[in-house]
Symmetry: D3
Subunit: 236 residues, 6 copies
C-alpha cells in the first residue's frame, strides 16, 4: 500500500491549465497532485549567437523553485545562485522539448520556457516537462494564429513521469514521501507516439536489476500515455 | 478619464486569499487587478547572528519577480543576481511589517516573508506589503494556535498603496499604463489605525508642489483604509 | 537640546569645495560637519545602449563608502559587492539630478557622477546629492567653456537634507548620534526654486502623524533653501 | 564501419595507472583512447556539516576540464565558474561511487575525489567514473595499510561506459567523432557484480525504441565487465 | 630633461598628513605630487582564523582606486570585483609592513590597513606603502597611549619608491607620463635602516642589463632615505 | 647541506616534453623535479578588443593549480574563483613571454598560454614560464609550418628560476621544503641572450642586503643559462 493510498500504477490528480499568464505568449499551470509548476513560453525573434546564420531555431528552458515551495524553506536562488540541480533539470526540459520541435521549420527564432515551482511534493521535473510542452504548444498556436509563423513547428507531444522502487515494489509517479525513501528513482520522457526521449535511472542504495528496470519502463509508458491524452485534451 | 475607466479615487479589484501554500506557516495570494503576488511566511526559531542575546525577534522579507511576470521577459534573478530595485523593495516590506510587530513579544525568533510576483501590472510593492501582512498574521495565528508562542505579537495591520499625478491629476492605485506615464509617483505605507509608516514620493519629470503632495496623501489614506478593511475580512 | 548643541533648525557647518579632482570634468568635496563626500562628474560622449537613437542624454550616479569611513570598519565593497543600501542611494542621487537637467538639451551623452564617502557621520546621502549637483554643474560649465556643448543643460539646482523626530521633537540635518536614535527619519530633495523632487520618510518605531510630517517638511524647505544659496555661492 | 576502425562492441585502449599524484592518498590516470583524466582521492577526517553526528561518512567528487583539453579552447572555469555540465557530471561520479561504499563502515569521514580532464575525446564522464573508483580503492587501501581505518569500506567495484546509436547502429564507447553525430547517446554505470547503478539515455534527434535501448544496455554490460577486470588488474 | 622638469634623482613633492580620518585608529593622507592616497589603520583584537593560537599577530592591507582617480574613469571595483592588479598591490603592501613589525610582540591581534587612491598620477603603490607605514605607526602609538598594548611592535620604518629607465636614462619616482613610456619599471621597498624588503623590476620592452639595474637600485636607496626622513618628521 | 642533497648551485632534474596535448597548437609538460606543469598554446586569429586596429598581436597566459596538486588539497578555483596569487603569476608569465615576441611581426593575432600545475613542489611559476616558452615556440613553429604566418615572431628564448637565502646561504631552484623556510625568496626571468626581464625579490623575515641580492642574481644567471640550453635542445 502506498502512503497516498494510490495503487502502484496510479498517477496523482493531474491538471493542465492554459492561459494563466497574461503577458506570456503561451502558459500552463501544471499540477501533479500537490506539485504545482507555472510554465510560460516566450517567443523571441532572435536566436542565441552561436546558432546565427544556420537557418535553425532553438527551444530552451529555465527552471527555478520559489523559496517556500518546499517543506523547509530553501535559500532564494537570486541570492545563492542557481543550484547544480536546477541547471541539470532545465537542461533536461530543453532537450525534451527540442526532441518534438522541427527546428528548421521554426526558423531563426527562439522559444524560451520558464518553469517555476510554486509548490513541490515530488516529481517537479516531470511535471515541468509535461506543463512546458503545453506552454510551448500554446505559444506556437498563438504564433500561427497571429501570422508570426506559417505552420506550427511542434511535431509531437512529449511528457514525463517518475517511477521508482519503493518498499521493494515498482510504483508510478512518486510523491515526496515515496521519493525520499525510494531504493531506485527513475525519470522517463516519452513522446505522444511512444518514442523514448530520455531515461534517467539511479540506484539510491543497492544497485537495481534488469527486471526491475523493465518494470519501471513499463509503468512509465502507461503513465506517459495518460499524460499525452490530457495534453491533447488541454487544447480541445 | 483613466485608461482603465476607474474614477480617480478608485482602487482595482483587490483579493487576499489565505492558505495558498501547503508548506508555509502563513501565506496569501494578493491581487490588485492584474498584479498578483504570492506571499509566504516562514517561522524560524532562530534570529540573525547580529541580534542574538538581545531578547528580541526580527521580521524580514525577500522579494522577487518571475521572469515572465512582465510584458517583456526579464532575466532570471537566479542568473543575473538580485537587482537593486528588488533589494530596495524587500527592505521596504521588512521595515513596514516590523512597524506593526512587537519584536520583544516575538522573542528570539524570526519570521521571514517571501513575496514573489507571479504577474505584474504596476504596484507590485504595494500589493506585496499588503499581502505580506496577511501572510504574517496568518503565520502568527498559526503559532498561537499551535502553542509555539503564547500571544500574537502583531499589534496592528499595515497596508500600502501607490498614488500618482497622471495627466496632471491625482490618481489612486496606478496600474502599469498609468505608472509608466505618471509625472509623480508615490507609495504610502499606513497602519490600520491610520499611522504613517513610510512615504516615498518621486518626481519623474517636473518637481511637484506641496498641494499636489497633500492630494496624494489624502488619496492614500482613503485607499489604505479600504485595504485595512479587506485585511480584517480575510480573517473572518 | 541636541547632542551637538545645535538648535532644532540649525544645519551643521556646510562646505562645498570645487576643483578637487584633477582628472574629472567636474568635482566637489562636500562636507556636512564630519560627513565628507568626494563627488566627481565624468562627461561621456555615449549613452547607455537602451537609450540610443532617442535624441536624449542621461545622468546617472554611483555611490560607495570607504571601508574605514565609519565607526566600525565595513567590509570593502570591492570584495563584498555593492550593498543594497548603496544601490538604493545611488538610484536616489541619479533621479534627483535628472530632475534638474534638460536631457534633450544634453543630447546623446551621459554624465556619470561618483560619490565616495571619505568619512561618515550621518546624512551621507543628502550630502552626496548636494555635492553631486555642484560636480554636475561644474562639469557642464566646463563643457560649455570647452565648446563641447552649446548651452548648459542644467535648468535648476537641487539639494537634499535629512530631518527626523529625535527625542520626540523635529530636528534638521541629523548627525550619526541623532540618526541612530530617531523615531522617524526623513530625507527631502528640493530644487533651488523650491519644487519637491523626492520625499522618503520612515517610521523607525511607532508610526508618525500628519502633523509631525508637516513639521519635517517645513524644516527641510528651510534647510534646502540654505543649501541652494551655498551651491550658488560655490560658483561665484 | 566506425571512424576509428573499431568493431561495434570494441572499446578503445584502456589504461588505469595508479600512484600518479605524489601528494594524494589515492590516484589514477585513466585513459580511454585519447581521453585522459587525472583522478585523485583525498582522505578527510571530517564530514560535511549536514551529516555530522549520524555515524556515517561521505564520498563526493568534483570534475573539471583543463581549458585546452578540447578541440576548441574552453573558457577557464576558474574565471567562468563551473558549468552546469560539470556540476551534473560531478554529481553523477559521487552517486556512482557511493553505491559501492559502506558509508557506515567508513565512519564520520569523507573521501573527496577530483577528476580533471587533461585531454578530451568523448566519454570523459565514463572514464572519470572508472578512474575515480581506482583512486578511491587506492585511497582506502592506503587507509587500511596506515591503520587509519580497520577495514576497507569499498564493497564492490564500479565502472561506466557510453553507448550510442551511430549511423543507425549500436556502438560501444563512443569517441568524440561518434559522440557528436550519435542519434542516441547513453551512459551506463554498472558494478563489478553486474548491478545497475545509473542509466542516462538521451535522444539527440528522433526518439529511440525499446529494442534500441535493449541493444545499448547489452553492449554496456559487456563493456563494464571488461572495465571491471581491468580495475581488478590495477591492484595486482 | 624629464617632462616635469625634475632632475633624474629628484622626487616629486612629498607630503604625509596624519590624523585625517576621525574614526580610524591611525591614518595618513600621502601625496607624491599629484598622486594622493588615503591610508587608514584599523586595530582589531582578533586574528585571522588560520593564525589563532600561535601567539602571533598579523598586519594586512587592502588597496583600491576611486573610479575617477584616473585620467579615464575606471569601472567601480564594487561592481567589477577587485582587479588582479589591486590584489597584487595589496599583497605587496601587507608584506612590506610585516617586514618591520614584531608580530610576536603584537600578540594575537590584527592591524588592517586600507589604502584608497583618491587621485592617481603614477606610483600609487609606492605612495601607498609609504603612507601605510605612517598610518600603522600612528595606530600603534595610539595603542600604546591608550594602554591597549604595552610597547610599540613596529621595529623600523619602511617606504617605497619607483624608478625606471625613461628615454634610455634612469629616473627616480616616475609620474604617469614617464611610467607609461618607461622601458624598464621597478619598485623598491626599503627599511629606514636601509635593508631591502622587496624588489620588483620589469622590462616593458627590451630586457635590461645588470648595470641598468644597479643604477635603479642606487636611485631607490637615495629616494627611500629621503622618504624615511619625512616619515620620521611626521611624528615630530 | 640542502634537504635534497643538492649543492647550492644545482638545479633539480629538468625535463621539457613537447607534443603532449593532442588538440593544442603547441604544448609542453615541464618538470622541475616533483613540480609538474602542463603548458599549452592556443593560436587565435583575433586580438583582444582593446588592441584592434593597431597592427600588433598579443601573448597572454592563464595559470591554475589542480586541487590536489598540493600537500593539502586546495579549494577548486572553479568554485572559489581565481586567487590573487594565480592572477599575479599569470600576469608574470604573459609579461615574460611578450618580452621575447615581436608583436608587430605576429600581426593582429593572439597566442594564449595555459599553465596548469599537475603537481607542486615549489617553483611552479618559474617552471611555468620555462615550459610556457617551449609551448609558445612549438606553436609558432606549427604556424610557420602550416603557412599561417610567414616567419616565426619569437626573437629569443626566455626562462625563469627561483633563488633564495636558505639557512643563511644562497641556493638555486628552491623546492617546497626550502621555499617555506627561506629568509629571502626571489624569482628571475632571463632571456636566452642573458637580458633581464623580471626580478622579484622578497624578504620573508629580516630585510636582505645588496651582497645577498647580488649572490642570488649570479645564481639565477647560471640557472637560466642551463634552462636556455635545455629549451634549445627540446627543439632538436
Amino acid at each position: 500500500m502506498r502512503p497516498s493510498g494510490r495503487s502502484f500504477n496510479e498517477m496523482r490528480a493531474v491538471s493542465l491549465e492554459r492561459g494563466v499568464a497574461r503577458h506570456a505568449e503561451g502558459s500552463c499551470l501544471v499540477k501533479f497532485g500537490d506539485t504545482h509548476v507555472l510554465c510560460t513560453a516566450t517567443w523571441d525573434e532572435t536566436t542565441p549567437p552561436w546558432l546565427r546564420g544556420q537557418g535553425r531555431g532553438w527551444v530552451t528552458a529555465e527552471y527555478g523553485m520559489l523559496p517556500r515551495s518546499t517543506h523547509q524553506r530553501m535559500k532564494r536562488e537570486a541570492k545563492a545562485g542557481q543550484s547544480g540541480r536546477s541547471q541539470e533539470i532545465q537542461r533536461l526540459i530543453g532537450r525534451s522539448l527540442r526532441a518534438v520541435v522541427d527546428l528548421k521549420a521554426l526558423g531563426e527564432r527562439q522559444i524560451l520556457i520558464d518553469c517555476d515551482v510554486l509548490q513541490a511534493d515530488g516529481g517537479t521535473r516531470t511535471a515541468a516537462v509535461t506543463g512546458a510542452w503545453v506552454a510551448l504548444e500554446d505559444c506556437c498556436r498563438w504564433a500561427v494564429r497571429d501570422g508570426v509563423i506559417a505552420a506550427n513547428p511542434v511535431v509531437d507531444s512529449v511528457s514525463a513521469v517518475s517511477c521508482g522502487i519503493v518498499n521493494g515494489a515498482p510504483a508510478l509517479d512518486l510523491d515526496y514521501a515515496e521519493d525520499s525513501t525510494a531504493q531506485t528513482d527513475a525519470n522517463f520522457v516519452i513522446t505522444g507516439r511512444g518514442g523514448l526521449v530520455e531515461i534517467q535511472a539511479t540506484a539510491e542504495g543497492a544497485p537495481f536489476s534488469d527486471e526491475q528496470f523493465a518494470a519501471l519502463l513499463s509503468l512509465a509508458k502507461e503513465g506517459c500515455a495518460g499524460l499525452a491524452a490530457r495534453q491533447k485534451a488541454a487544447f480541445e
